[in-house]
C-alpha cells in the first residue's frame, strides 16, 4: 500500500468543475469506478476521488470544489505534488453486453474512463444547470438533460446500466433497473478499510463502502427491501 507523490500537470476549468491532471508515473489506473485518495495541501485527511481520465502519461480527476479539501486540491498548480493512494475499492464489472452509462452532476466523474474502456457506449447525463452540463463533453455518445428534467427519463429498457450520481438518482435508477451497477459515495478518512467512516447500509447491515464498493449491484438496494445502502440502518 504505497502513496505516490504525483506532479500536478495543470487544472482545467470545465464549467464549475475542475479537472485535476496529474503526471501518472507508475500508478495503475485500475478498473473504472475504483477510486484514489488524494491528499489536499494543508488538510489532514485525503479525499476519495474516482478516476475520470487515464492516458499513458496522466491521471485526471474531475472535482467539484465545494469544500476546503476539494478547493485545496484544485488550487494546486504546476510544481505542486500531491500524495495519491490507489486504485482502491471495487470498480464496475465490464463484462456487460449492452452498456448504458448513467451519470448525474459530479457523479459523471468515473464515466469518461468507463466509456473509454467499454468502447464508448451510449450515455445519459443529467445536470443542475447548463453551466454544469459543460462537463458532458468529457463523455462520448452522451445525451444530456438539465433540471427540471431528470436523467431517469432517458433510461431505456434492455440495457446494462452502469451509474454514478447523487443518492436520489441512484435510488431512482435502482428502482427502474434493479440489476444496475451503481457507484456510491460516502465520507472516507482512509479509503482502505481502516476508519469505518464510510459505513452505509448494505444487505441490511452497516458495512464499509470502501471495502464492499463503491460500486454495488442495484438488486441489493431496491427501495423497500431495506437492503441497500441505507442510512437508516444503525445500531
Amino acid at each position: 500500500m504505497r502513496r505516490e507523490l504525483l506532479d500536478v500537470v495543470r487544472v482545467d476549468e470545465i464549467g464549475p468543475y475542475r479537472l485535476l491532471r496529474l503526471r501518472r508515473r507508475r500508478v495503475e489506473s485500475g478498473i473504472p469506478g475504483q477510486f484514489f485518495m488524494l491528499s489536499p495541501p494543508g488538510r489532514l485527511l485525503p479525499r476519495p476521488m474516482s478516476l475520470c481520465l487515464a492516458t499513458r502519461s496522466e491521471l485526471g480527476f474531475l472535482i467539484d470544489p465545494v469544500g476546503p479539501g476539494t478547493q485545496a486540491l484544485v488550487s494546486a498548480g504546476r510544481g505542486d505534488r500531491l500524495p495519491v493512494l490507489g486504485p482502491l475499492g471495487n470498480g464496475f464489472r465490464l463484462d456487460v453486453e449492452r452498456p448504458l452509462l448513467v451519470g448525474g452532476g459530479i457523479g459523471i466523474a468515473p464515466l469518461p474512463y468507463l466509456s473509454e474502456r467499454l468502447g464508448h457506449p451510449p450515455a445519459v447525463l443529467g445536470f443542475r444547470t447548463e453551466e454544469h452540463a459543460e462537463a458532458a463533453a468529457l463523455v462520448a455518445n452522451a445525451e444530456v438533460v438539465v433540471e427540471p428534467r431528470l436523467v431517469t427519463e432517458l433510461l431505456r429498457p434492455g440495457h446494462d446500466v452502469l451509474a454514478c450520481g447523487p443518492e436520489p438518482m441512484l435510488r431512482a435508477v435502482a428502482g427502474l433497473a434493479p440489476r444496475a451497477q451503481l457507484a456510491w459515495e460516502a465520507p472516507m478518512a482512509c479509503g482502505y478499510g481502516a476508519c469505518y467512516g464510510c459505513a452505509v447500509g448494505i444487505g441490511g447491515e452497516l458495512r464499509r463502502l470502501c471495502v464492499e464498493g463503491p460500486v454495488l449491484s442495484g438488486h441489493v438496494l431496491v427501495p423497500g427491501t431495506g437492503t441497500g445502502p441505507d442510512r437508516s440502518v444503525a445500531a
Partner: protein
C-alpha cells in the same frame, strides 16, 4: 516500539501495514456485535478529525472464533482492545481472551469522562478485569479528567500493567451552511494534531504519577512528535489518525525518529526516555509488553 491506535487500522484489510508495526492493536471488541452509529461518522476539523463510529465490531464470540486466528497469522503481536458498559462486561471479555495464546496484551478501553468519579470507574474496571485474566493489561485512559495522574495512579493500584494515553476527547463540528452537527451523533471523538499537546501532557503527568510503562497516543505524525512522547515518558507510541492519510507512516516515522534522536545527541530514541522531566537520575525505563 510502534503500534497503531485502536480503531485506526484493520489488519485484515491492510496486512502489510500491520506488519510494519511492532504490535497490532485491534478495534475495540465488545461483548455483543454492534453495527455502530448511523452515518455521517467522520468529519475533518481545523486541526483534527472527529469520529463517531460507535464501536462497530463483530462481538467477542465471533472475534474469538473467526478474527483472532486470522490476526495471529500476521506474525505480529496482537493487542486486543476491549470495551464494555459495565465492569462485568470487561471481566467477561478478558475471561474469553485469557486462554488465547494469540493475545499478547489486553487493552482496556476505559474512557468514561462523564462519570462522577473517573478514578473509581477506572479502579472498578481494571480490578475486575485483573481478576479475570493473567494477560498483561493496559488501561487506555481519557485525558478529559481533572487529574490524569490520579487516574493513572488508580489504574496502577488496581493492577494494570501499563497505560495507553490517550483516547480522543469530545468535540463538535457544524456544517458550513446548515449549522447543524456534521456527525449524525452530534459530537464525536477529536483526534489528530489538535490532540497532540493534550496527549503529551497526559503522558507527562502519568509518568510522574506511576511507574507503569506508557504507550503514547494522540496526534503523532512525525518522528519529532514520537520523540517528544518518549521524552514525556512514553516507552512506546501509537499512530492513529495519520494512518488514514498515510499507510506508510510507521516506516516513515520510525526512520524520522532515529534521525531526530541522533540530531539531539541521543544514541537511540529510547535514550530520550523521560528527558522532559530532567530527572537525575532518570526513572528506569519500563519496557512495554
Amino acid at each position: 516500539m510502534i503500534l497503531n491506535a485502536s480503531g485506526c487500522l484493520d489488519a485484515l484489510a491492510a496486512p502489510e501495514v500491520a506488519r510494519s508495526l511492532d504490535a497490532y492493536v485491534t478495534k475495540t471488541v465488545t461483548p455483543l456485535p454492534r453495527q455502530g452509529n448511523e452515518p455521517v461518522r467522520i468529519a475533518e476539523t481545523g486541526a483534527g478529525m472527529l469520529n463517531s463510529i460507535g464501536l462497530a465490531n463483530a462481538g467477542i464470540d465471533r472475534f474469538a472464533a473467526d478474527v483472532l486466528p486470522r490476526l495471529a497469522e500476521l506474525g505480529v503481536p496482537i493487542w486486543v482492545s476491549v470495551g464494555g458498559f459495565s465492569a462485568q462486561d470487561y471481566a467477561r471479555l478478558c475471561a474469553v481472551l485469557d486462554g488465547r495464546d494469540e493475545v499478547a496484551v489486553i487493552e482496556l478501553n476505559v474512557s468514561c469522562p462523564n462519570v462522577a468519579s473517573p478514578e473509581e470507574e477506572v479502579v472498578a474496571i481494571v480490578s475486575t478485569a485483573r481478576a479475570a485474566t493473567s494477560k498483561p493489561l493496559y488501561a487506555k485512559l481519557s485525558p478529559a479528567v481533572p487529574e490524569v495522574g490520579a487516574a493513572a495512579g488508580a489504574a496502577a493500584r488496581a493492577g494494570a500493567d501499563g497505560l495507553t494515553l490517550v483516547n480522543t476527547i469530545r468535540g463538535l463540528a457544524l456544517d458550513e451552511r446548515t449549522l447543524e452537527p456534521k456527525l449524525a451523533s452530534g459530537p464525536g471523538g477529536l483526534s489528530g494534531p489538535a490532540l497532540r499537546p493534550v496527549a503529551l501532557a497526559a503522558v507527562f503527568a502519568a509518568h510522574r504519577a506511576t511507574e507503569l510503562p506508557i504507550v503514547g497516543v494522540g496526534g503523532i505524525e512525525t518522528g519529532r512528535h514520537a520523540l517528544e512522547a518518549i521524552a514525556a515518558g512514553a516507552a512506546a507510541f501509537a499512530l492513529g489518525t495519520v494512518l488514514f492519510a498515510d499507510p506508510e507512516a510507521p516506516v516513515r516515522v520510525r526512520d524520522e525518529l532515529e534521525g531526530e534522536a541522533a540530531a539531539l545527541g541521543f544514541e537511540t530514541p529510547l535514550a530520550a526516555y523521560g528527558a522532559a522531566h530532567g530527572e537525575h537520575p532518570p526513572k528506569p525505563l519500563r519496557q512495554v509488553a
